[in-house]
Each structure stands twice: as C-alpha cells, then as structure tokens.
C-alpha cells in the first residue's frame, strides 16, 4: 500500500499560493490607492496612511512565508528548479529593464510614467511568465 501523504500532486498548493499572491498584491495595491485617495481628499491623516500602508502589505508577508515553506518542504527537486528558473527569469528581465527605464527617464528620453501598481505587478507577472516557460521545458 502506498502512503497517502506524498508530493504526487502538488499543483493545488502552488495554485492556491499563486491565488494568495494575487489577492495579497491586490490588497497592497488597494492600500496604495486608498492612501493616495485619502491624501488627495484629506480624509486620511499621515499616521493613517502609514498604518494603512503597513497593513495592506501584511498579506504579502503571509504569502512570502507560505511560499518559502512550499519551496523548501513541499516541492520536489524538479518543481523547485522550475520555480527557481521562473524567479531567475524575472530577475534577469526586470533588472535591465528597470535600469534602462531609470536611465531613460533621467536622460529625458521618452519613457512611460509608471505608477506604483506597474512597478509592483511587473515582477509578479514576470515570475509567472518565467515559471510557464520553465514548465514547458520539462513537459
């Protein structure tokens, strides 16, 4: 008899974690939006903006802890490799693009104005793309 506890189907963990990340990112972006609206409408004092800014990031910290546990304990070696390749892809694409963007802005060349949501979401989207590419390599 095969033990029931295994890593045979880890996708649900990964899928729910990704869902949690989407929710957590959305929460942090909502927090950012509320801070800006509160500042503009003058209904949220500075200390409230700080508290809201910190609280809205809390789900991301929970997601980070869960991600770490998933990576270290629940994923097998190939799935770990896929996730790490996805993270590496995001890093190698994001850093040069970010540096190029900063330099273009500094040089006064045309560059789109990026808001906080763009900056926060870009790495997450790149990680998702990187994981999808890495998965294809091993299918």
């Amino acid at each position: 008899m095969i033990a029931a506890e295994s890593r045979a189907e880890p996708q649900p963990h990964g899928a729910s974690l990704y869902g949690l990340y989407v929710v957590a990112l959305t929460t942090s972006l909502l927090g950012n939006l509320l801070i800006r609206l509160g500042d503009r409408g003058r209904w949220l004092p500075p200390w409230g903006q700080i508290v809201l800014g910190a609280l809205s990031v809390a789900p991301l910290i929970v997601a980070a802890v869960m991600f770490w546990r998933l990576l270290r304990r629940d994923l097998d070696e190939m799935l770990q490799r896929i996730v790490l390749e996805g993270l590496a892809f995001a890093l190698v694409v994001y850093v040069p693009l970010a540096a190029l963007y900063v330099n273009m802005r500094t040089a006064g060349a045309w560059a789109p104005r990026l808001d906080a949501p763009d900056i926060v979401l870009a790495p997450a989207v790149l990680v998702a793309i990187g994981i999808a590419i890495a998965r294809r390599r091993y299918e």
């Binding site: 295994s6 189907e9 070696e77 190939m78 799935l79 490799r81 091993y138 299918e139």
Partner: protein, 68 residues
C-alpha cells in the same frame, strides 16, 4: 539522459502516479524523467536505483557524448 524507467515501471504494473508516490516526487517529475526532459539529482537517482533493485548505470545512460 536516456533511462529504462518506463520499462521498469511497466514491468511492475505501476502508473506514473504510483511511481511518483514511491519516490516522493510529483507525477510531472516522473513524466519528465521518463521522457528524458529532466535529469535527476544523485540522491533521487540512488532512490530510483534502490526502488528497482538495480545499479544506477543500468537504469540511466548518458546521451552520446553529452555530459552536462
């Protein structure tokens, strides 16, 4: 890297899921191993060898001249 995993598994009448549970890896990993898309770590290769009661070199064979 070529391997005889599909044959060894079929001889025992195991599904990929069965083998995955015995090796404590995902079914996708077993699939990738069997198709030669993923080369196992040394600990996993030893685990596979122990499970099938054969030496590693009898199960895994490097592709011609490819020693990545």
């Amino acid at each position: 890297m070529k391997n005889t995993l599909p044959v060894l598994r079929a001889e025992r009448g195991w599904s990929q899921g069965d083998l995955a549970e015995r090796l404590d890896v995902s079914r996708q990993t077993v699939n990738a191993l069997e198709r030669g898309k993923y080369d196992p770590s040394l600990p996993l290769a030893f685990k596979i060898a122990r499970l099938f009661g054969q030496p590693i070199e009898q199960i895994f064979e490097p592709d011609g001249g490819d020693h990545r």
